[in-house]
Structure formats: C-alpha cells, structure tokens
C-alpha cells in the first residue's frame, strides 16, 4: 500500500502512475514526484518502469530461446528445446497459414511479438502491490519519499509500449506495401479503392473520397492494434487493483480473476501476433 493511509482513489491513482524520468520546466532533469509533474514534462520524458521491465523481459525471452537454439540438436529434444521448438513451430505454422509471401523477417517478428507480449502481460499476474512495494522500499533506501515512488510493473498497460510496437508494425506494413507494389502501387491502394470508375473525370472525383476512407482504414490498423492490447491489459490491471482494495475477500476474487486473466493475456498476445501477420500479408497481397 502506498504511503500511510491512502484513500482508495489515491491508491488506484498511485498504481496507475508510471515512474517517469524527464525534464521538468521547474525542477530540470528528474524523476516526477506526481502525476501532474509527469504530465508537465511533456513528450521528452521516459517511463523507467515500462522500459526497464519490457527490456528485461525481452532479454530474458531472447536468452532462453538463444540458449535453446545453441543447444539445439537433431536428436531427441529435451525439455527446454522441446518447449522452444513447440513455440517456434506454432508461430511458423501460423505464419505459413496466413502469410503467403516470402520474408525472412516475419516469422521471427511474430515469435518475438508473441513471446514478448506474453511475458509482459504475464507480469499482470504478479500481485499488484508486490513489486511496487519493493520499489518503494528500494526508493526509500536511496532517500526518495516512498509516497512518490511510482512503479507500474506491467509494460503493456502503458499505452506508449503498445503503440510503440504497433507503430513499428505499421512502419513494416508500409515498407512491405511499397516493396511489393511500388510507391505508385501504394498510392494507388490509397486512392483507387473502394470506388473506381472507367471514366477518368469521375475517377478524379472519387480520388479524395477514396483517400479519406483508405487513410482511415490504414491508420486504424496500428491504433486499434496498440489500443486493443493496452485496453485489455489496462482493464485487467485495474480490476486487480480494485480487487486489492476489498480486504480479505480479495483472495478468492484475486484467484478467480487471475485464472480468467491467464486466458486473456495469452489470447491478447496471440491476437497481436496474428493481426501483425494479417496486416503484413494484406500489404503484400494484390487486390
């Protein structure tokens, strides 16, 4: 619990605030002491907790898989190698079913997305107060006011993290579109659908309408991709926090919600991966 006796609102707000490092107009480069200070820092601030956990989890994922890859033998696979091969084959099959173009990037990309997002989501199942309290003790040890040490453990409940990934995917989508269809093809995709006409004059009238529609379609992809993951995990985290307020009854509730949430985090990681593959295959395929 944050501080001495926080009200439920304070408790929730405290839990939903990231550990932000940035340049405050008044205090200079520092860690934000409140939500207000954090927002005053503007764009040039960074969430240390989000970055830290996501990078750490990514490194863990890559280390485990790299180790399995190095030890990989053609004989009978043992425990870790078996698991890794299972994941790799699962992702590879998903990619092969959906994506019919040729690309060396897309399968490892999908594997990375699935495992990384899953691990980041998995942090949601760590009891909500456990790591923040550790962080407060740690911060207090270094002289910070424990009440103002914010710590958000689940990177995917940070909209920056999910949008960061979805925008990277979006950049890849555009790159693949241009590579497959050329720049003119990309522009044609944006302006010649869904309305077209053999008459040049009417076609010219359709172009702006098409562009607006297609631009919305195109931009909706990364935004929905990022916000879907964020929304699901944010809501899940919020419910964990709310459950944590109700006192002793939180134990069965917590357990029930965690079991349910186990499904959600796996599903969301899978959805993020599948949608990435689908968007990329749409980028490559001709209409």
């Amino acid at each position: 619990m944050a501080g001495t006796n926080p009200t439920p609102t304070e408790y929730i707000q405290h839990h939903l605030q990231n550990l932000t490092f940035g340049r405050h107009p008044e205090h200079g480069w520092s860690i934000a002491h409140s939500a207000q200070e954090a927002s005053e820092m503007g764009f040039w601030a960074i969430h240390l907790d989000t970055m830290g956990w996501s990078v750490a989890l990514g490194v863990i994922f890559l280390m485990i898989f790299r180790k399995a890859g190095m030890m990989a033998t053609t004989g009978v696979p043992s425990g870790l190698q078996n698991f890794v091969e299972l994941m790799v084959e699962f992702v590879d099959n998903s990619v092969k079913e959906t994506f019919h173009g040729k690309s060396r990037v897309i399968a490892p990309l999908s594997l990375t997305i699935f495992c990384w997002v899953f691990l980041m989501n998995l942090m949601d199942l760590v009891p909500v107060d456990f790591l923040p309290m550790l962080a407060q003790k740690f911060g207090g040890f270094f002289g910070a006011d424990p009440e103002h040490v914010y710590f958000k453990v689940v990177p995917t409940t940070d909209v920056n993290a999910t949008l960061g990934m979805s925008l990277s995917v979006f950049a890849l989508v555009i790159f693949y579109t241009i590579r497959a269809k050329g720049f003119t093809g990309f522009i044609g995709d944006l302006t010649l659908h869904p309305f077209n006409s053999p008459n040049k004059l009417i076609q010219a009238l359709f172009v702006p309408v098409n562009f607006v529609l297609e631009a919305v379609t195109l931009l909706a992809k990364p935004i929905s991709l990022g916000l879907r993951l964020f929304g699901n995990l944010y809501a899940g985290e919020l419910i964990f926090i709310l459950i944590a307020i109700v006192g002793l009854w939180q134990l069965p509730l917590h357990f029930t919600w965690a079991v349910f949430h186990l499904l959600v985090i796996t599903l969301q990681a899978f959805i993020f991966m599948m949608l990435t593959i689908v968007y990329l295959s749409m980028a490559v395929e001709q209409h």
């Binding site: 939903l16 990231n18 932000t20 940035g22 954090a38 927002s39 820092m41 503007g42 764009f43 040039w44 601030a45 960074i46 969430h47 989000t50 970055m51 996501s54 990078v55 990514g58 994922f61 890559l62 898989f65 790299r66 399995a68 890859g69 190095m70 990989a72 033998t73 053609t74 004989g75 696979p77 190698q81 890794v84 091969e85 790799v88 084959e89 590879d92 060396r104 990037v105 399968a107 490892p108 990309l109 594997l111 990375t112 990384w116 990177p155 940070d158 909209v159 920056n160 993290a161 949008l163 960061g164 990934m165 925008l167 990277s168």
Partner: protein
C-alpha cells in the same frame, strides 16, 4: 498515460529484439527442426526400403526353395527311371546268357552223344568182326578185309 519518449524507446527495443531474434534465435532452432525432419524422413525411407528388401529376399528364398524342390523331384524321377532301366537291362542280359549257356550245354551234349555213338559203332564193329572170326575160326586179315570192316562199321 502521457504519450512520451517511451513510445520511441519501446519501438527501438522492439526493433532490436526482432533483429536479435531473426539473427540468433530463429536460424539455429529452425535448422535443428529441419535437420530433424530430414533425419526422420530418411529413417522412415530406410525402414520402408528395408521392408521392401526383406519382402524381395523372402520371395527370392521361396523361389529358390521351389526350384530346388523341383530339381530334387526331377533327379529322383531320373534315378528311378534309370534304376528300372538297369534292372531291365540286367534281366535281358541274364536271359541271353542263360539261353547261350543252355545252347552250349545242348551242343556239348550232342557232341558227347555223337562221340559215344561213334565209339559204340567202332566197338560194335570190332565185336562183330571178332564174333565173325570166332565163328569162321579163321582170322581175317585186317589188311585184306579192312575194306569190308569199314563198310560194316559204316552200316551200323
């Protein structure tokens, strides 16, 4: 929930992870998978080939067995034929030999009879002459009457 530098940081981290995964994680695992697949395929192939070989060998063995049985039967048949032939031949030659021996014996007997007859005739003629001499009480000159005696011996 402000949009800030984390967005870019996350994108960079993501890109680095994907690159690392693509370079150092995916290839060895995939290679191992493919190699194992090939190994299993080869194994299955070898197994089916071995089964086929076995079938072939069995067929061959059966064929050889059948052939040798046939040969054995043929040899037996030949031997039987040959033995009956030999028996037949032996019987024939034995019969011929027997006949020949009987003929020999017969001719010998005839000779013997003839010789006995001759002797008997000579003796009878001598006896007759002696008898005649006794009767006549005079000796017959053998030189004088040789012709007569011979004529007598021939008539007997």
């Amino acid at each position: 929930m402000n949009l800030n530098l984390t967005l870019i940081g996350q994108a960079i981290a993501f890109a680095v992870f994907v690159w690392f995964c693509m370079k150092f994680v995916w290839p060895p695992v995939m290679q191992a998978l493919q190699e194992r697949q090939k190994k299993i395929a080869d194994g299955l192939d070898a197994a089916s080939r071995a089964t086929r070989d076995l079938e072939l060998a069995q067929e061959q063995a059966n064929e050889t067995l059948r052939e040798s049985k046939e040969q054995a039967a043929e040899i037996l048949e030949q031997a039987r034929k040959r033995s009956t032939q030999m028996i037949e031949e032996a019987r024939d030659s034995a019969r011929l030999e027997g006949e020949r021996m009987i003929n020999n014996a017969k001719s010998e007997i005839e000779q013997e009879i003839n010789r006995a007859k001759e002797e008997l005739r000579v003796q009878v003629s001598r006896l007759a002459i002696e008898g005649a001499e006794r009767i006549l009480e005079a000796s017959i000159d053998e030189k004088q009457h040789g012709q007569l005696v011979d004529k007598l011996a021939k008539e007997l």
